[in-house]
Amino acid sequence: MSEAKKVSWAEIRCWRLGLLLATLGLWEVATRRGWMDRFYVSQPTALAAEIFDWVRSGFILRHLWVTTQETVIGFVLGTLLGVVLGFLFAHWEKLALIFDPLMVALNAMPRVVLAPLFILWFGLGLLSKVVMVISLVFFVVFFSTYTGIREVDRDLVNNARILGASQGHLVRHVLLPSALTWIFSSLRVSVGFALIGAVVGEYLGASEGMGYIISYAESMFNAKGVLAGLIVLMAVVITFDVALKKLEGRFSYWKPVRS
C-alpha cells in the first residue's frame, strides 16, 4: 500500500496543524463575537493563560505529580498482575476453566461505579486511586496476555522442546517474546484507562490531584478550570503514549514492518 500510494507526511502534518488552528481560531472568534458564551465554553487564549499561570506558579505541579504517581503505580502493578495471571491461566487450562466466569463477570462490572466503594474501603488518599487504576488496567492486560500466550505458534514451542528447552527457557525465549506484541498493544490501550481511573478516583473523593482540581472548578461553575484541567490531562496521556510507542519500537526490532 505504501508503494502504491506514497503518503506525503509533510502534507499530512500541514493538514493536522491547519485543522487544529482553524478549530481554535473559530472557537476564539466565536467567543469574542459573542456567538458562544465564554462562561460555558471558555476561550483558547484564556485557557492558555490559565495553564501558563498554573505552571508558572507551580500550583499545577503538585497535583500533576499526585495524579501521575497514582497512574504509574497502578499501571505498573496492574500490568504485572495481568501478565503474571495471564501466563498462569494460559499455562494451566484448568485454572482458566474454573475462573473464566468470574473473570468475565468482574470485567463486565463498571469499575467507575465501584470507585465510591474503593474510597470507602481504602480511604481518600493514594491507595484507593491505585486500586481503581489496577482494576481498570489489570483486565485489559490479563486478557491480552492470556490470548497472546494461547496464540503462540505450536511449532515454535515444539521445536524449542526438541532443542532441549526447560520450562524457564520456554517462557523466556518463546512465550514471552511471542506474547509481547499482544501485551504492548494492550498497554497502549490501558494507559488511557489508568489515567481515567486515577482522575475519576480523585474526582469522587480526594484533596489533591488533577481530578480534584477539575471537580473543584466544576463546583465553582468554572468551565475554564475544568477545560484547562482536561487539556493538561490530555498532554499527560499523549506523553505516556509516546513513551510506550518508543519502548515498543525497541522490542520489535525483529519485525518486518515498522510504522
Binding site: 511449532d155 524449542a160 522442546r161 526438541i162 532443542l163 532441549g164 528447552a165 527457557h169 525465549h173
Partner: protein, 274 residues
Amino acid sequence: MGQGDGAGAIVLERVTQRFPMPHSDREFTAAHDVSFDVRGGEFVSIVGPSGCGKSTLLGLVAGLIPVSEGRISIDGRPVDGVNPRLGYVFQRDALLPWKTVAQNVGLALLFRGFDPALARARVAEWIARIGLTGFERYHPYQLSGGMRKRVALAMTMVYEPEIILMDEPFGALDVQTRNLMENDLLDIWAQRRRTVVFVTHDLEEAIALSDRVVVMTASPGRVKAVYRIDLPRPRSVTEIRFHPDFGRLYETIWKDLKDEVRLGYERSQKGLLG
C-alpha cells in the same frame, strides 16, 4: 556403517493413534496398527497421501505426542517424552523470529548448557557450512525461504542428534533450491551417518534420498509396503533420477501409492463437501 547395531535404531510395534475429534465424542484414527523399524544410521522415507498420519508418526517418535496404543522404542528403550538425542526439522521452519541467525542456530546449545565459547565456535562452523557467513546478525524476516530452511537445518544439526526426523522439510521450496538442499542433506548424512526418518509426499524425493521407502495407506494410515532402494551411493539427487533402476523403482512403488493417493483425495473431497 553397522547394520542394525548403530545407535539410533527405532522400532514401532503395532502403533495405533487416535485423537478426539473437536466438538464431538468420536475419535479420529491417525495411524492404525503401524509396525516398522529403522536401523541405526539408516535413511528411511515415509510416503503416503496427505492426512495418512505421517506427521503424527514423527510426533510420536519424537515424544511430543504420547502413544495411545502400541510401543515405540529407540535403541531398545521405550519413548516417554522428548528425547535429547533426537532432532526434528519441521515442515514450516520454526525459527524464532525475534532471534538472529546466530542465536537461532545456537539455541539448542544454549538450552543444553554448552560452554559459551564452544557454542560460539560450533555456531560459526555451522553457519559457514550452510553458506550464511555474513548473515549472522540478520533476523529471519530478512532471509529467503531457502536460507531460513538452511538455518532450521543447522539449528538441528548443531547438537549432532543421533536421530533426525524431517517432516516434509523442503516442501515449500522451489525445485532448484530444493535439489541443492537435498544434496546438502545427503552430504551431511554421509559424513557421519545418523538415522534419518524423512516424511514426504514426493515419491521421487523419497527414492532419491533413502535406503528404504515406507508406503502408507490413506487414512487411517497403515503400512502398505516397504521398499528397499538399492541405488548406489554417494548419490546426487539431480543425477540419480537418470539411473536405469530409478524408473523401475518409481513405477513399482507408484503402483502401490497411486490407489492410496486417489482414495485419500476422494475422502478429503467428501470431507469438504460434508
